[in-house]
């Protein structure tokens, strides 16, 4: 018995929504970074799942490797920026990033 494709896609969609909603409602910069990672992992899951449907190529799986690598680079830059912010402001709450406004 194999698990149908839809199950994977729905789980991935739920993960993506969790990440997106988390990004929009949470106020901690580190949690926001984690939410973005969650969204990228949902994309990975979607790609790998769909790859099973589109046999004859491995575009989906190859794509996933690139996303993993880029996500690592992005996390490095992101953490560096959050660290720089923490050093100056001694907080990681996004509400405290309020210097620039109209």
């Amino acid at each position: 018995m194999t698990v149908p494709l839809e199950y994977f896609v729905i789980v991935a969609a739920a993960l993506f929504m969790t990440g997106a909603v988390g990004f929009l409602i949470r106020r901690n910069l580190l949690v926001l970074l984690m939410s973005i990672e969650l969204m990228l992992n949902a994309v990975n899951l979607t790609l790998v799942a769909f790859n099973r449907q589109h046999v004859g190529g491995h575009a989906g799986q190859i794509f996933t490797f690139f996303i993993i690598a880029i996500a690592a680079a992005e996390a490095a830059v992101g953490l560096a920026i959050v660290l720089a912010f923490f050093r100056l402001r001694s907080t990681v709450r996004s509400d405290d990033a309020d210097l620039l406004r109209n």
């Binding site: 799942a49 449907q53 589109h54 794509f63 210097l99 406004r101 109209n102």
Partner: protein, 510 residues
Amino acid sequence: MNAGLFLGLSPLLVVSLGGLLLMVAEAFSKRRVDETSDDRDAGPSSELSLGTAVTLLAGAVFAAAIWFVGPENLEGASLVAPWVIVDRFTLFFSFVLCLGGALAALLAGGYLPEHRLDRGEFYPLIIFSTVGAMILAAAGDLLSLFLGLETMSLGVYAMVGFRRASLRSTEAAVKYFLLGSFAAALLLYGGALLYGATGHTDLAGIREAIANAQPGKGPNFALVITAAVLIIVGLAFKVSAVPFHMWTPDAYEGAPTPTTTYMAVAVKCAAFATMLRVLVGAFGEGGLESWAAGWPPVVALLAVLTMTVANLVAGQQESVKRMLAYSSIAHAGYVLVGVVATMRAGGDAQGSVMFYLLTYTVSTVGAFGALILMGSRGAEAVSYEDLAGVGKRHPAAGFAFSLFLLSLAGVPPTAGFFGKLYIVKASIGAGLYPLAIILLLNSVISAYYYLRVMVYMYMREPAPGAPIAKPMRSGYVATALVVAGVLVLVLGLWPTTSLQIAVEAALATR
């Protein structure tokens, strides 16, 4: 060895190689900043700024050279397609991106030492971001599109937060990074759904699958629509279209001004290049009848919102830098009008979009460059008050700023006038009269805040006791302004040749 392939990729290769060499040169250079010294020529900028500009201009020259050879005559250049497509569209954008990057590097050469930011990392970041932007413009596959996008963005995130000791700069970087990577994730999820629906990651394959769609067995309707929405939202973030523009004024204001310049020109042009490739290329089949081509009304709505909101808010700003940020959002709105027209009017309209991006690049570099020139150590010119009377005390700097502002406002005989004219012509040609009228009304509104700067420069005097702006002395900034100024006038006086080139480049994608 395949000579055609190497020649076809030479703009990318030259710029990448130059970036690597400069990075090594910077690491072994004896030039280090002495924070206490007043000597502005002692730091790494004095060597690297010129090297970066030369590297990027070399990329532009190679792109122009291949244009004359004809990319279709290069055998083997199609070996890397669809990941990197070497066509006239790519070459046009490579040229514009390299030009914008080179001018921004020259501005940095004056700005960074003046404001005690003279660290060499800035220049490799500009170069590698430009490499990413060029890949983005050349990408015919979602994979390379994503790689180009991230290569470009990661460099720019670091450039925005370059002034580490400043809370404003760091805060700008936080905001830009979070919203930028959120947008990239949306775009990516759209791409993954598109792959699921069509089985392709290359834009040509996606286009074909959508065009051959049949009810019941073709690609899944719901998946393609969801993917299209996610991709449009992701791209709208990148070109900063209202209502996805919240990060733009903050990031532009907080970032060091050369970074702002780079974001306003190169990042925006590359995002529009990929928007044209994706919307017109992948979702463009079958015109408005096709169910997957329902994007033009959505983009038209974005265009109207972007132009109107940005222009109304720009007039209320007290900071010139923030006003220019809103102005760049408004210009994105004008370009979006052209993107909508492209769907109906075809190559000519797309040519007008690309011509507009060229004129916008030179005018914007000039405007930000003039703003940089107006400030000096400890007294960066930011607000309207800072500019009071500066046009009378320093006529050359005042003249330069006025020229670029007039071009942004679209006054003849500057480049900006013809950029707007062709977009309006294209939208009328496509029968989009309401959009053309809204665009014209908006450009009248925009004249208010551009002219306000000139009023302050020529007709006001600084308030008693207020700090008096003293323009910096920098050969690099002056050079960049002269180059941009000449281009603004040349494009304004002889627009037809470059428009023809842009149209020819646009036709390559069809």
